[in-house]
Subunit: 145 residues, 2 copies
């Protein structure tokens, strides 16, 4: 069983649990995101997926997000989507403040652990239950420097 089959099997399971079907349109959408190392906008996904209709793209993005397959985060301009972290690996984003380009990167597990410890401490003192975090590095990419 290839790693792609493994991914699709996991996605199919999550959709089934959510009472949804794993149609070819949704499979194509997952393939697009699995082939990229950065979060994509709905327009980029529609383009990459042979210009699928926006209504279908948006609906399936919502379904897949609801089922825990995708993760949505809001940029300055558009929303972007990526595979949920437990389907890939925990990572962070390098955001170019000039052109808006986003790349992925990872931190050593020791750094991750110390961040989560610090957040737990701060969160409980504010009455929040911390479940995750979002750490973006802001700067300039090679093109915009």
């Amino acid at each position: 069983m290839s790693v792609e089959d493994d991914l699709h099997a996991t996605v199919a399971g999550r959709l089934r649990r959510a009472g949804q079907r794993y149609t070819s349109a949704r499979r194509a959408l997952v393939d697009v995101l699995a082939a990229t190392r950065r979060p994509l906008t709905a327009g980029e996904i529609s383009d990459a997926d042979r210009l699928a209709p926006m209504s279908t793209t948006y609906r399936n993005l919502a379904v897949l997000t609801q089922a825990g397959v995708l993760h949505r985060f809001n940029g300055v301009d558009f929303s972007r989507f990526e595979l949920a972290e437990d389907l890939t690996e925990h990572h962070h984003h390098l955001v170019c403040v000039t052109c808006g380009h986003v790349d992925d990167f990872t931190l050593p597990t020791a750094a991750e652990a110390s961040i989560m410890r610090a957040l737990q401490t701060a969160g409980t003192s504010c009455g929040f239950t911390i479940e995750g975090h979002r750490l973006d590095a802001l700067g300039h990419c090679a093109n915009c420097r």
Copy 2:
């Protein structure tokens, strides 16, 4: 000179440098944000500012952001605005993924330093020049738990 006067003097300077005036509407907007410990949406600011017209609120939010007085932050639902960090202090956000509420919190300086060190290392290997970071904790607030 009170701390509020100091803030207003700094804001006036930045607007002047940007070729803009510090009008009473803009002063009122800064006062609203200075009196709050969390980023506010345009609607909240308009409400707090005696229901100022949305068009004026949005235009002044854009002007003040352009001048480096405010920082725009995209929450789960709407955009939110807060005073720029160099006018207050470096801090992070607790974001409730259910209701979208956002609170501020700070980390010990040791934790901040180790985060920046880790980001510098990761950034240079991707060709990015790192200038800052954005760390948000995601979870549930006291109401939504």
